[in-house]
Symmetry: C2
Subunit: 198 residues, 2 copies
């Protein structure tokens, strides 16, 4: 148990910031507002974070670390490729919902450094993602001639379907819709039963 060391107020600040950022976007939220919401004083904030941008980075790091840990588990246990895709789609949806609001994206124009930081972390996830696909190819779960980059592009493209409200409305809930995409990907990628993984 190494996770017990974080001071209470630091946790409170992080949670308050996460909530406020999602509601109002990065720009509109001030350090003092975060402190008020967290029930902490401004000095406590600056004890743990150099400024608002560093707090944002800290949040992202935690978010991606969580995702990373989940991927670790999945790779070690004997989960199917299909389940891995399911998780990745869910992660992607989560990232999109937190990063999607225009009021958050606009902030990148103000602080390009954050854009870089985000892209860098994203790149790591992408590499990990490629590795999983390659591994699945070796195990014969996925057709070997498929390029990981192409597969990723297809996933991104298919997720755009989620913006089509009329389409999503066909399904009982969003999860069912994601499952449909998942199934489509899986059976579209499956090696033909008879041929030798051509």
């Amino acid at each position: 148990m190494k996770t017990k060391k974080e001071p209470k107020k630091k946790t409170a600040i992080v949670q308050a910031a996460d909530k406020l950022f999602k509601q109002f976007g990065f720009k509109k939220v001030t350090v003092e507002e975060i402190c008020e919401t967290a029930g902490a004083s401004k000095m406590t904030f600056y004890k743990y974070f150099a400024n608002k941008n560093e707090l944002i980075k800290y949040l992202w790091r935690m978010m991606f670390d969580d995702a990373w840990a989940k991927l670790d588990e999945l790779e070690n246990e004997g989960t199917t490729f299909q389940e891995k895709i399911q998780l990745i789609l869910k992660m992607k949806e989560e990232a999109t919902s937190t990063m999607g609001a225009q009021y958050i994206k606009d902030y990148f124009n103000v602080v390009p450094e954050l854009q870089d930081f985000y892209n860098q972390i994203l790149a790591e996830v992408m590499q990990r993602f490629f590795k999983i696909i390659r591994h699945a190819q070796e195990k014969g779960e996925v057709r070997k001639t498929i390029r990981p980059e192409f597969f990723l592009a297809v996933v991104n493209q298919l997720m755009e379907l989620a913006k089509n409200e009329q389409l999503v409305a066909i399904y009982d809930n969003y999860t069912e819709f994601v499952l449909e995409i998942n199934n489509f990907l899986y059976y579209g990628l499956m090696p033909a039963p008879t041929e030798e993984n051509r």
Copy 2:
């Protein structure tokens, strides 16, 4: 048709401001942001409004004018007292939903002048409200010994029930819940069928 004279951009500014205020509260929204959202330039804004606070007042005036007009209609036509109460409850809910968010209320501490303005307009609606009750009393629709101020207090108190989520969840939708309150008020107020409106 007297409503065609408002310049396009003024309307656009008002609508953009209304949308942004409801989403972020008064304080967080800047004049320039309103202009961007409205697709207008800052100079156009200041052509029609002295500043943000005057725009807020303008919005309220429109809102209350609308409500006023509806009350006019209701009083002239032969609508029942019950229907009037229904409308008033609906108006009250609307006003609460727009003025309810903490981020809007907090602004009153910054600009007390707005608080005064809001109270003043509210007072007018209250007077109108009292008048309707008195009129209903004269027509024998409402027990004569009831004081309008008391009735208003009861309405306010009953609307607090709406904050009880478990209670509201009993009804299929919010409208049905409001109807229940309405019915309760009506039959609680109804003059006894036999006695002479004592």
